[in-house]
Subunit: 219 residues, 2 copies
């Protein structure tokens, strides 16, 4: 019977997965030029998606990992675009540092404002973030309009993210929003961006959880 | 300035995305032989992942959509493996039918049992589901061990799912678990399965939300 899984210990499953990913990256000669910490983040993104395209698509601003880890250690909040990302983030890992994960997308005032203006709740959620917590880590996995608005608020000096994980998935405006996000370096805002259409909740969650783990390891 | 997104109305963004997906499926000549309802589910999966591999990988048992829609209309519960999937499912859409989304993975008794037996919480969460709600829709997006255990419980006549969305992502046991799930038809259990490594939270959520929408449309 082949019915039983070969490995059922959770840590063993994870370890074996990472070994496979590293081996295949070597074989594909697709292992990009990354620092060990950046490579850790990339491996976790591939682990969450089983998609090696992210080895080519993922772009790290040189200060991204350091700035994200430092922000977590300082207890900054993490602002996300959708609830699903909040559900996936390792909140007990974050709580040690006093960080909270905030999503404004479903707030009553945000929904009302969006309806009033005929724009996405995602846009309004970023405006609320600029009022409530302008210095935070931002993880945008779904709404290109949130990422566009975030960039606009940075340019207008209303938002000062410690790190932008800009990885919305999609067919309309996602590529364009992420190409704009690559210019955040001009404003000294570090980013992790997945170019092209791909990205999404698992990518945002994997990147955040990798940073949380790095923060914990580095005491 | 190319800073502003071209389309900011949420319904318009979604409509345009679906148009692009359908066009590219035609162009790729990858449009599989599916019923209109199955095609709707597939388009939503591609929309959530920007990954056309799912046109090749997604397998529908012939009764899957019908059985899932009927289960929702009967007010059956939806059992998921991880919280992230629950967060993404359209719960207000489900509440009309009296359905609840249940996840047992983080339950105290499940965690304790898993530790005791040295197995995954995912396995124990399926055993709890067999006790609590053996007739439900199951959406497994992350844990191959949950899917293996679900299949074992079906074989042992402890679990009678109306539909199994079996789409765990990963490098260890995911492929094998999904190949086993393709045999659920032998037990008259309908399934939606993504063969290979790919799958995950967005795929499980997209499939569920497509079924919820179909249930609503078909009033």
């Amino acid at each position: 019977m082949s019915m039983e899984p070969k490995i059922i210990n959770p840590e063993a499953i994870e370890g074996e997965s990472f070994r496979i990913i590293e081996t295949e990256l070597e074989e594909m000669k697709a292992k990009p030029q990354l620092s060990p910490e950046e490579f850790t983040v990339l491996v976790r993104i591939i682990h969450a998606t089983a998609d090696f395209d992210f080895a080519k698509n993922t772009v790290f601003h040189p200060e991204a990992v350091k700035s994200g880890v430092n922000a977590i250690k300082r207890g900054e909040n993490i602002v996300v675009d959708v609830e699903m990302i909040r559900a996936g983030i390792n909140k007990s890992g974050l709580s040690k540092f006093g960080c909270e994960v905030l999503s404004f997308m479903s707030d009553e005032d945000v929904a009302q404002k969006a309806k009033e203006l005929g724009i996405t709740r995602a846009i309004c959620s970023m405006r609320k973030a600029a009022n409530v917590c302008p210095r935070s880590v931002f993880a945008i996995g779904n709404a290109p309009t949130a990422l566009f608005e975030l960039i606009r608020l940075v340019r207008n000096k209303k938002l000062f993210p410690s790190l932008v994980i800009g990885v919305p998935v999609g067919f309309v405006s996602a590529i364009e929003a992420k190409e704009e996000a690559l210019k955040l370096g001009n404003y000294d805002i570090p980013y992790i961006v997945t170019r092209g259409r791909k990205g999404g909740t698992p990518v945002a969650v994997a990147a955040m959880n990798a940073l949380i783990r790095l923060s914990t390891e580095k005491g």
